[in-house]
């Protein structure tokens, strides 16, 4: 196997970011919500490596704690979406018939809703909280996975090993869980990796609009809320959280790209 540089670098970046997120209490130089009125909007310096915000809170510490929130929202939202997509997709693909038409028509309908509109409308009804954001992003993001899984299963189920499993009397759920889904894992994994990136982007956009993670909880998007009022005064508040998002999304996209190459 030729060394897959894109995949390895992507995995490395995400590994580092996850470690930082896990070890946040040990790594962050300050308490992320510690208000220091003696250094408001301080530019990056040795004392505050990435500067401070308008309440004097250390930006680096907030970004480190923000990594926890943003990464976990991305991962859990993707997990929910992939789980639902797998269930619907495999039922539609394996059983066909009415189940298939019903599920796929439902997918068509949900796909008509502009995702961002749908999410905002739901946020307006339920209060925005970290759990709600994860669930909402997950519930509005499974349709692509369902279509993908269905397609994979449609082509897999004609293969000999599935016929053999059927011949020895394996039940439908067993065939789906033990034989079909493991063989469709590659494309689903690529799709899920892209899903994490998409969920993190969505969360940052929502939080930036004030409809996602609520201040003072730091997520990369909610830190950026302040950048609108400090534009032209404190460039560091705009630059660094955005760079954190960019690097993360880039790394997940690199993993997806690299995985695609591995699968062939």
């Amino acid at each position: 196997m030729k060394r897959n540089k894109v995949l390895i670098s992507g995995l490395f970046i995400i590994g580092v970011l996850s470690t930082i997120a896990l070890l946040a209490p040990f790594l962050s130089p300050y308490d992320p919500s510690l208000i220091d009125s003696s250094s408001l909007l301080a530019p990056p310096s040795l004392r505050h490596l990435l500067g401070t915000d308008s309440l004097g809170r250390d930006l680096l510490s907030r970004l480190i704690y923000g990594a926890r929130i943003s990464l976990s929202i991305g991962l859990i939202a993707m997990g929910i979406a992939t789980f639902i997509g797998l269930i619907f997709g495999s039922i539609a693909g394996y059983y066909g018939g009415i189940a298939d038409s019903l599920i796929m028509r439902f997918v068509d309908i949900v796909l008509c809703f502009p995702v961002f509109f749908l999410i905002l409308a739901v946020v307006a009804i339920f209060e925005p909280s970290i759990i709600n954001i994860m669930v909402i992003i997950g519930l509005t993001g499974w349709m692509g996975t369902a279509r993908l899984v269905r397609g994979e299963i449609l082509s897999l189920k004609e293969r000999e090993f599935i016929q053999a499993a059927k011949a020895i009397g394996a039940s439908g759920p067993r065939i789906i869980l033990r034989h079909l889904i493991p063989n469709a894992a590659g494309p689903v994994l690529v799709n899920a990796t892209l899903g994490v990136a998409a969920a993190i982007l969505l969360e940052s956009g929502l939080s930036f609009l004030g409809l996602g993670v609520q201040p003072p909880t730091p997520s990369w998007g909610s830190i950026l809320i302040e950048s609108k009022s400090t534009l032209g005064v404190a460039w560091w508040i705009t630059l660094f959280p955005g760079l954190a998002i960019l690097i993360t999304i880039l790394a997940f996209n690199m993993i997806a790209e690299g995985l695609k190459k591995e699968i062939g």
Binding site: I109, A124, I125, I245, L246
Partner: protein
């Protein structure tokens, strides 16, 4: 062709029913009906407004009757009145459409105008210098949150270089300008929003164009064209590109939901009074009739976008419409 169009038109009926049913369900089965929620969140709601709301949603009737009533009104584009200022929702939306439409049309033109040449040029030497550089740049742009790019460009162009106005549609002295000054003024205000919203779709479309072009260049008819001694220019632009562009037309129809979602963010950042900002304000103030109207209209627009994409595709590629 007519058969194909008719078939596609018929298929939108269940979609329309599904869209309205889901929209209705979202608002209806929300914890706390809109009327109660509105009351608890907005103390300004008077008993009179409350009564009208109950009538609007027909809350005294069974659920299916409420849905049918609501559907009948929606079919006449009657989405009720806004909670905030009591004006008809459709009127509020209609006056905001021209701005959002203008921004999106221009950004689509820029998006496709840049993405197609980039994709074609990259496909000619895959792995070459141009391909590698544009791939890296586009990958970065694809990973950057678009609202962050907007903030960075605002900082650079509007504050540091002081080249462009920072927000709004017109300057304060707009009234006293000549017509060409007015046009220039609007152009200067909309330049950045259009630029940023065109960047967001650029990466995907040019990558798509590139792979579509690479595929086209490996088709047998390209060998034929080369074998009969056509110039490389003719082979690339006349034979390969015309075929490779076909799948791109479908993206045009499919980009509706992305553009609508983007308009919420950009119009909020740049303080532009379009339908995106209207939706944002509606969400912030929990103006349910307005939220419902925009969700339904957004979904229907997306559906027609898909429909147009399919029909356009079938028009330029006969293979589609003869397939079962």
């Amino acid at each position: 062709m007519i058969n194909y169009i008719l078939k596609r038109l018929l298929s939108i009926i269940p979609l329309l029913l599904g869209i309205t049913l889901i929209s209705f369900a979202v608002i209806h089965f929300a914890p706390g009906k809109p009327v109660e929620l509105q009351e608890s969140l907005n103390p300004k709601v008077s008993p009179e407004v409350r009564l009208r709301l109950q009538k609007l949603y027909g809350l005294d009737k069974p659920v299916y009757a409420q849905y049918i009533d609501w559907l009948a009104r929606v079919a006449k584009l009657d989405f009720g009145r806004s909670f905030n200022d009591n004006r008809p929702v459709m009127e509020k939306i209609a006056e905001r459409i021209p701005l959002t439409l203008t921004i999106n049309i221009f950004s689509l033109i820029i998006m496709f105008g840049l993405a197609i040449p980039i994709g074609v040029k990259a496909s000619l030497t895959p792995g070459g210098k141009f391909d590698s550089i544009t791939t890296v740049i586009l990958f970065m742009l694809f990973a950057a949150p678009s609202f962050w790019l907007a903030l960075i460009l605002m900082q650079l162009l509007c504050i540091n270089l002081n080249l462009l106005p920072i927000s709004g549609v017109v300057s304060l002295d707009f009234e006293y300008m000549g017509w060409w000054q007015k046009a220039l003024d609007i152009g200067r205000h909309l330049f950045l929003p259009i630029l940023v919203s065109s960047i967001s779709g650029l990466a995907g479309i040019s990558r798509y164009m590139r792979s579509s072009m690479i595929e086209a260049l490996n088709q047998p008819y390209i060998y034929t064209a080369r074998a009969k001694g056509l110039s490389e220019k003719k082979v690339v632009y006349k034979h390969a590109m015309r075929n490779a562009v076909i799948p791109i037309v479908t993206i045009l129809g499919l980009s509706v939901p992305g553009l609508l979602g983007g308009s919420v963010i950009f119009e909020s950042i740049f303080a532009l009074p379009g339908i995106g900002r209207l939706f944002y304000e509606a969400v912030m103030t929990r103006d349910y009739p307005l939220i419902m109207a925009e969700v339904v209209i957004g979904a229907v627009l997306t559906m027609f976008g898909n429909l147009l994409a399919d029909i356009a595709y079938a028009t330029v590629d006969p293979r589609i419409r003869y397939k079962k």
